[in-house]
């Protein structure tokens, strides 16, 4: 198979890579670019652990080809913190202990970032529906929802 040459933007940086035509964006991020924040839970778009934002849309990177990233703007969990300063969502996930094993956490953080960008003041129900594409088998979701609610308050004040 001939490789596909891709020029894209990831977390604000111009990135170029060669990938196979059937390689998912998730595999490119993890195996070619060393961005291992996005996780493969199911590989079929059901669990949301591989969530990234592409041109301001939340997507599962397992359901997108690496070749499709040409000319797009991609945000991953690696771009959320600024140096040693965590994003408010990351800080609140820590404070609320909104994670146990952590596999789902990067996906939840990115999905919550997308949610708050579009709806800065969500109700609990809106958070639960908004994050329904992300599965967590440890926390039971309550702590995650509270962390997002708390982060929304902090982000509104900022």
């Amino acid at each position: 198979m001939a490789g596909v040459a891709v020029s894209t933007t990831i977390n604000g940086d111009s990135v170029e890579y060669l990938c196979q035509p059937d390689e998912t964006l998730l595999d490119v991020l993890r195996d070619r670019l060393g961005l291992t924040g996005a996780k493969e839970g199911c590989g079929t778009g059901d669990c949301g652990a591989c969530s990234v934002i592409v041109d301001d849309r939340l997507v599962c990177s397992c359901l997108m080809l690496g070749a499709e990233a040409e000319g797009r703007r991609i945000e991953t969990v690696e771009g959320m913190a600024h140096g040693d300063t965590l994003h408010p969502l990351q800080q609140k996930f820590l404070e609320h202990a909104a994670l146990q094993c952590g596999i789902c956490t990067p996906g939840f953080l990115i999905a919550a970032k997308d949610l708050l960008a579009k709806n800065p003041d969500p109700t609990e129900e809106e958070i639960r529906f908004g994050l329904a594409g992300n599965l967590c088998r440890c926390t039971g979701y309550d702590k995650i929802v509270r962390a997002v609610q708390d982060a929304a308050i902090v982000m509104k004040q900022a």
Binding site: M1, P21, S51, R57, L58, V59, E68, A111, A132
Partner: protein, 286 residues
């Protein structure tokens, strides 16, 4: 395998028609990539249609709406004019998958995946939507209900691509609605579903109607008798009873892990009834 991103529909059709091995159209990929991963399809050529001019646009024309084949369902939900004219189509499209899937999945993909349980298809059939098909011998426009022919199969010939879905301009006092039954609150596949589209006159009498049932036969069913149960009368109890009865009777469901034949028949009638009530209220019927 090759991945190509043609810039014109003619080029895409030419590549699709000319491919020696299996080829696949890629728009949102939410079915295709899952099927590739599962080993159910092994395309030698993937044709990404998202760079073709116009395919990512919703156009409002003198005749209604034209929805490009690569428009993600999330974008349908953000189009105020489309939502106002075709609330049932939009609510059905918005039920497909999670937020993540919504950002990618398309109604044309939903149609061409040809699942009897596809959420947007009963709403499109009830809406009388048409598909613009482009192929090696030109362009044709067909009713959406003629696209799926069996689970996973469509009537499209080799080299043919659906370029857009057309929805008519609305007559006054018209509206549609879509409902599905799933055993949880969201993120599931319809056990059975119903789409109803109708027009009422100033007195609240239904003057036109289309009724479709999903997940109750090998393809989505257009239930003509359901429409006849509504047309020419107000949405009274007798009309609703008749609608529920004919919809239940039209079903040819299977027993599977999601529901039994008996359950699907019963619920098809209930959903058709409720969808009709919602569409009627939206149309301003009293």
């Amino acid at each position: 395998m090759r991945y190509i991103r043609p810039l014109s529909i003619e080029d895409a059709v030419g590549q699709l028609a000319g491919s020696a091995g299996p080829a696949a159209i890629l728009a949102g990929g939410s079915d295709l990539l899952v099927r590739m991963k599962g080993g159910f399809v092994e395309p030698e050529l993937i044709i990404d249609i998202k760079s073709i001019a116009g395919l990512r646009d919703i156009r409002e024309t003198a005749d209604g709406f034209s929805i490009g084949a690569a428009v993600p369902c999330a974008v349908l939900g953000e189009n105020a004019a489309l939502k106002k004219a075709w609330p049932g189509v939009v609510e059905a499209a918005k039920l497909i998958g999670s937020k993540q899937v919504q950002g990618r999945c398309t109604i044309v993909g939903n149609l061409c995946n040809a699942s009897p349980a596809a959420d947007s298809v009963p709403a499109l059939v009830a809406a009388g939507a048409r598909a613009v098909v482009v192929g090696p011998s030109g362009k044709r426009t067909i009713a959406v209900e003629t696209v799926p022919t069996a689970p996973g199969r469509t009537s499209l010939a080799k080299g043919e691509i659906i370029e857009a879905i057309l929805l008519d301009k609305r007559a006054p006092r018209s509206a549609d609605a879509y409902l599905r039954f799933i055993p949880r609150t969201e993120m599931d596949i319809a056990v059975v579903s119903a789409g109803v589209n109708l027009t009422v006159d100033a007195a609240g009498i239904v003057t036109a109607a289309r009724v479709a049932i999903g997940a109750a036969a090998p393809t989505v069913l257009l239930v003509e008798e359901g429409a006849q149960a509504l047309i020419g009368r107000k949405l009274d109890e007798a009309a609703l009873e008749r609608l529920a009865k004919v919809c239940a009777g039209a079903c040819r469901p299977i027993d599977d892990k999601r529901g039994t034949i008996e359950f699907r028949r019963k619920v098809a009638g209930v959903l058709a009834r409720r969808a009709a009530q919602t569409a009627y209220a939206r149309a301003g019927g009293k």
